[in-house]
């Protein structure tokens, strides 16, 4: 069963990923991306990371891809791209070498270390219904609970820091979209 889920989800992920790269039309690419994101969410579920699966769907598929599609429509940049033509001569070989290199070497590293134990193990993941400390059983929200604990203890600073990141996003959009205060009189303009 797990295998089936894995194979199917992996198929979704890979197909979606390839789709992003090969679909000529940006909208199609965006939809392929959704496929991948769903596939990843499925993997999250099968890896017992339920909260992340949910967030993955909501944030990625729900917000980010929608944002993409929104921008495509807003700008009308939905012209198809002819992928048979490559103006930069060495680009494709470069991509091939890089892709093969990265995938090959990373896979080599992963496979060669598949039996190597990590230097340290964690305290264990709580899964719904699984055992937790002192013999009690975790509830249906065990994963969320553990995540929250971790988030607000060890990682509380990062959590707060993300708010600073959001300030950047806010201030950034303001700068990038506000109206020009003054027309340019000289200097180079586009």
């Amino acid at each position: 069963m797990d295998l089936v889920v894995f194979v199917v989800a992996s198929g979704m992920v890979l197909a979606g990923a390839l789709g992003v790269v090969v679909y000529r039309h940006p909208v199609h690419a965006a939809l392929s991306l959704v496929l991948t994101l769903f596939g990843v969410a499925v993997h999250f579920v099968s890896l017992e990371a339920h909260f992340l699966a949910a967030v993955q769907v909501i944030v990625y598929a729900g917000a980010i891809v929608v944002l993409f599609l929104f921008v495509i429509m807003l700008l009308g940049v939905d012209t198809a791209e002819d992928l048979r033509v490559e103006r930069l001569p060495i680009q494709r070989p470069l991509a091939a070498v890089m892709g093969a290199g990265i995938v090959g070497l990373l896979v080599a590293a992963i496979i060669s270390t598949r039996d190597t134990a990590p230097l340290a193990m964690g305290t264990g993941l709580d899964v719904p219904g699984g055992p937790i400390a002192e013999g009690t059983t975790a509830g249906h929200d065990a994963n969320i609970r553990q995540l929250a604990d971790n988030l607000f203890s060890d990682n509380v600073f990062v959590f707060e820091l993300t708010s600073v990141l959001l300030i950047v996003a806010v201030a950034g959009t303001v700068i990038l979209t506000r109206r020009e205060r003054r027309g340019s009189q000289d200097g180079t303009t586009s």
Binding site: Q91, L94, A95, M98, I102, L105, L106, A108
Partner: protein, 642 residues
Amino acid sequence: MIDVVWLIPALPLLGFVLILLFGRRLGDPKAGYLATAMVGASFVVAAGVYFDLLSEPAEERSHVVTLFSWLPVGDLKVDMAFLADPLSITMCLFVTGIGALIHLYAVGYMHGDPKFSKFFLYLNLFAFSMLMLVLGENLLVTFLGWEGVGTCSYFLIAFWHARASAATAGKKAFVTNRVGDFGFMLAMFLAFQAVGSISYSVVNHAAEEGSLARSTATAIAALLFLGATGKSAQLPLYFWLPDAMEGPTPVSALIHAATMVTAGVFLMVRMNPVLTQSYDWVPTTIAWIGVITALFAATVAIAQNDIKKVLAYSTVSQLGYMFLAVGSGAYVAAIFHMITHAFFKALLFLGSGSVIHGMHDQQDMRYMGMLRKLMPVTAATFIVGWLAIAGVFPLSGFWSKDEILMFSAAKSPALYVVGLVVALLTAFYMTRQVILVFFGKARWEDQAEEHGAHGDFKPHESPWIMLTPLVVLAGLAAVGGIIQLPDVSWLPESITQKLEHWLEPVIEFGEADVGGTWWSQNKTILMLLASAAAVGGIIVAWLVYEKDRIKINEPTILANAWYYDKAVSDFMGGPGRESFDGAAWFDAHVVDGAVNGVGRGVREVATGMRRSQTGYVRNYAGIIGIGVVLLLVWFVLIRGIL
């Protein structure tokens, strides 16, 4: 008096300084008199020192007077010191004596020249340098004078520097002399390394007692001789001297006949123990180079038309004689001939100067002739000089030349034969000159019309101030031989070999002992042979030039000095210059080219790399991607898995 031996060079130096400061104010002719007086005063001091020395026993006639420490560095201790001994005082006497006479002559000769005072400035500086040369207690003080006379010679040859040939001749003289100086310097270094000193006394002493190795002595002697060939215009470095005639005639008389050019001979005599200590090939080589130079120059002198050029080649030839003497171990004869030569050659030069003066700067003998009528004093004195140089009995040249021939015969009959031929040739070309200038037809009238310079061109006799030195010198040239009369039976012993006795402390180690040879016992025969050669030369020349009995063509090759000078010039101007140009090209294009090439290389490599910065963001991502792959290869493959 000996303690003030330093006054001998100091007085001309004072003259130099005074003229430098006040020369212009003194002007013509007072600056000249001042200069003459200074050299004259030097002569007086030198004479005083001479008598002081005479009053001492022979073996103590060597005094060192130290002024100050000059270059004291570690083991090298060079003092500014003078050596007053028979040799140096002899040199001083004739340098200052003849120098004073020539100074006096120059007052008249240079009269009216816009650079009159400058001329005496140089002349006094020259006298100072020459006296430093001869009085130096060590090789370096001599070298100071040696270079000093070279420099002054340069100044004076190029005195009329607006004339290109004069400027070139000056430069040529200086540079050629420098080639010789190269040898002098190395000899000095070698001496220092060998004996830790460059003082004559130390070096010569080491040679005398044999602590100076023969090989070292050989090298020193050979190198010193190289120096001497430069300064004394011997083959292969003689060629600057004929060109040096571009200078004013008193300069030719003083520097290029009487004094400076004999410095090489002096140096060899000074260092005679080292020469004696060296292997035999050195003196032999010196003798042969001397005699070959003598022959070579004598042949060339036959075909010269410039009145001074004849004398110049004659000088070279006579210097060759002196080196023949040095090489034969006849140091006394060398000095003797140096002195007599100074008398008669200075006389001849001054006489020629008088002629030139009277001919309004005409030097070509083909436009002279019959001048004895118009310039009787000049002609008379010149004839004395002629006879002296030709070796006619009993004039001074006869005695000195004869002595040299005797010693050379003792060394090798071949040398003697060549020497005798030279004597004949000398008589021949000098006779030719005298006839062309003072006898024959007056050819200057044609020339005057040709040039039209003066309405009524007429050679004239020179003023008394020029003639006085001529007369004095003529007297000396005539009787100069008495200072070293040979010890032959027909002369009373009390008047013979004065110079030899006087110089004995200096030369006793090196002087060749010919006493027992056939040659020395039959001096009278040799004298007759020499006289025959001289008279033969005169007669032949008389027949050729005065009587037109014999027609000879003066070969062009002789007129061009066997093309030796031309070959050297062609080499220097041709391959020599080309190789220098090549070096300059090498520097500009190869060495500097490499430097600029590196710059250009950086630029080109950078321009190439710049092309990778295409501006396409996807390309950039690719470059980063390649970087990623490379890092992964290193980390995962090389460090991780392998």
